[in-house]
Symmetry: C2
Amino acid sequence: MSTTPINFADKFTRFSEHWSPRVIAEMNDYQFKLAKVQGEFVWHSHEDTDEVFIVLDGELQIEFRDRSVTLKSGELFVVPRGVEHKPVAVSECQIMLVEPKGVINTGDIGGSLTAENDVWV
Amino acid sequence: MSTTPINFADKFTRFSEHWSPRVIAEMNDYQFKLAKVQGEFVWHSHEDTDEVFIVLDGELQIEFRDRSVTLKSGELFVVPRGVEHKPVAVSECQIMLVEPKGVINTGDIGGSLTAENDVWV
């Protein structure tokens, strides 16, 4: 067991790509991932799992088909399984995702924004 | 589905008890809990699950039998299942815990610091 704390700010200095989640920790079969996001992501859903978004810096909008939610630093939102959503960040935003190991960022949609899975930082 | 973001600072204004985790969100069968901690907790372990600690404000020490780790704001640590640990905070510290629903704060030990489970804020 390592006794080095996982420091979010330090981890964020180690990558710059947008929409490319990096794993920082595993708990049972769940992963904690950091991501830098900017611009519009794609509409997608995850049929088998809820997904937690936590904003660590900046502001993230999560659009749903009939409404949207805006998250600021220090705020969390749970997107329920099966619900179509599209994250949007006007300016670069730093987020943490919590979800089961193996979840693909674009869910059931795929496409050019699909990031390699299980990349650690 | 609510579209109200869960704001950590707001939730922390709603309770003051130490070592008494409050649930703020559920993702699948996992819960996100906020806690205010100060002083020494009890030695305990969770035989069936890892446990994630995230410090949101202040400083938390997690003692193990042969070492310890100190977490500052913006830092995360995963205590592996079965590993005895004792959280300690010299000054009041605000933390978030992530663990499966049903986990008892004192694990296998019980005692006076055992908090009521599944209390939401």
